[in-house]
Symmetry: D2
Subunit: 134 residues, 4 copies
Amino acid sequence: VEEGARDAFARHGLMALLGAELVEVGDGRCVIELAQSDGVTQHHGYFHAGAIGAVLDTAGGFAASSTTARADDVLTVEYKLNLLRPAVGARLRAEASVLRAGKQLVVCRGEAYVGDKLCAAMQQTVMIGRDAPR
Amino acid sequence: VEEGARDAFARHGLMALLGAELVEVGDGRCVIELAQSDGVTQHHGYFHAGAIGAVLDTAGGFAASSTTARADDVLTVEYKLNLLRPAVGARLRAEASVLRAGKQLVVCRGEAYVGDKLCAAMQQTVMIGRDAPR
Amino acid sequence: VEEGARDAFARHGLMALLGAELVEVGDGRCVIELAQSDGVTQHHGYFHAGAIGAVLDTAGGFAASSTTARADDVLTVEYKLNLLRPAVGARLRAEASVLRAGKQLVVCRGEAYVGDKLCAAMQQTVMIGRDAPR
Amino acid sequence: VEEGARDAFARHGLMALLGAELVEVGDGRCVIELAQSDGVTQHHGYFHAGAIGAVLDTAGGFAASSTTARADDVLTVEYKLNLLRPAVGARLRAEASVLRAGKQLVVCRGEAYVGDKLCAAMQQTVMIGRDAPR
């Protein structure tokens, strides 16, 4: 993982709180892993939809950042998450990649796996740039 | 807040980790508040999209639960979040309510405010029932 | 309905093809109605999800346009539609309004009714401006 | 294309009205094509977001149907569409495939192309079954 991205990730308080780990980032792609803990589950012991959404949203933001020199100026416009099956296991792996990099808007897709089971799918829009229109 | 809901909320490890507080639940509506802290922000110091999504998703689940006797059997099918402006301030208030309660699927909408500023809007599907079809 | 909006609506070939009618537009709000016909239904005779999406998306675009002088420069970034119950009846009424008007991005919500039954809910992002970032 | 699917497609009045053509369906996958015409465009002459949504939603429904014997009992729960670039050209190709087939809920993804340009991306939930929970 390149140093700038690692620093930016370290400044995401939420990722630190959840115990998420930046595994890979670059060329429009990012992978984040999340270990199972009491803090990231819901009442059935599954990974919480909100925790899955948080790591996938962050992975999409870093995938988008990696396509631009303005990596610090990334804001989520929107994301949409489908939960496909209960996410039960030791470790969740969130992968995101850029589908389309426009001038200011970047669209990403992401998937979350526990082992080889696909547990969630995300589609997301992020905005890049100092003069972001939002 | 009714005791059963408070117990269920207490079992959501993610809500405890974030420091979220169940303010109100009942009659197809739920309000959760989240205090600003390093753990719920992103690198600009705004509330993290993932933290906003987590509390809104949870608020929607509890709003849906409140319309059924099977409050423990609620799973998120999907949610979609739009971030409307940077969420900066001491406290985020997430409100969700049921738009349509079907036999097994319940559709909710939610909004997140900092002060009187609308910062995010969610639309969500949750599933209720022991024999949930997912 | 103001003339500029009526002209723009008339240039939407899809709205003409579906037989949709612009009922009201202005101040960040738009209403479009759609009469039942073989051409807008699916195989059960319900209004087709795609037809409901088309009129709600268009209503959102016109609601957004009504908040700007650059009404012709509106493009949908994304929309999300929940179908809440089968939409059966003579006439579908699609209402959309602006939730947040940013510099270039506008977020809208919309609802579709048959009679007084809420049948669908939409959340949408549109982009305004000649130098649209997409 | 198998006969049952062709008959079901023919009963979708909206697909006939738009002039859409069922190109391929089976094994959790479906392709529909749409020729450019005044009736499927918006005021810039691009394929209308609503028309793109309609064919992608339908393609997802048929992809889901192809995984079950109850092909006639398919209803869209929700779909979400991102428009990635203006869709300009003679012919739009909508491809959808099943990401996860649950007991009653099926999640699909779809993409729309003009030539080799990816113009739109969809994520969708459909419901299968006579006793559909909606």
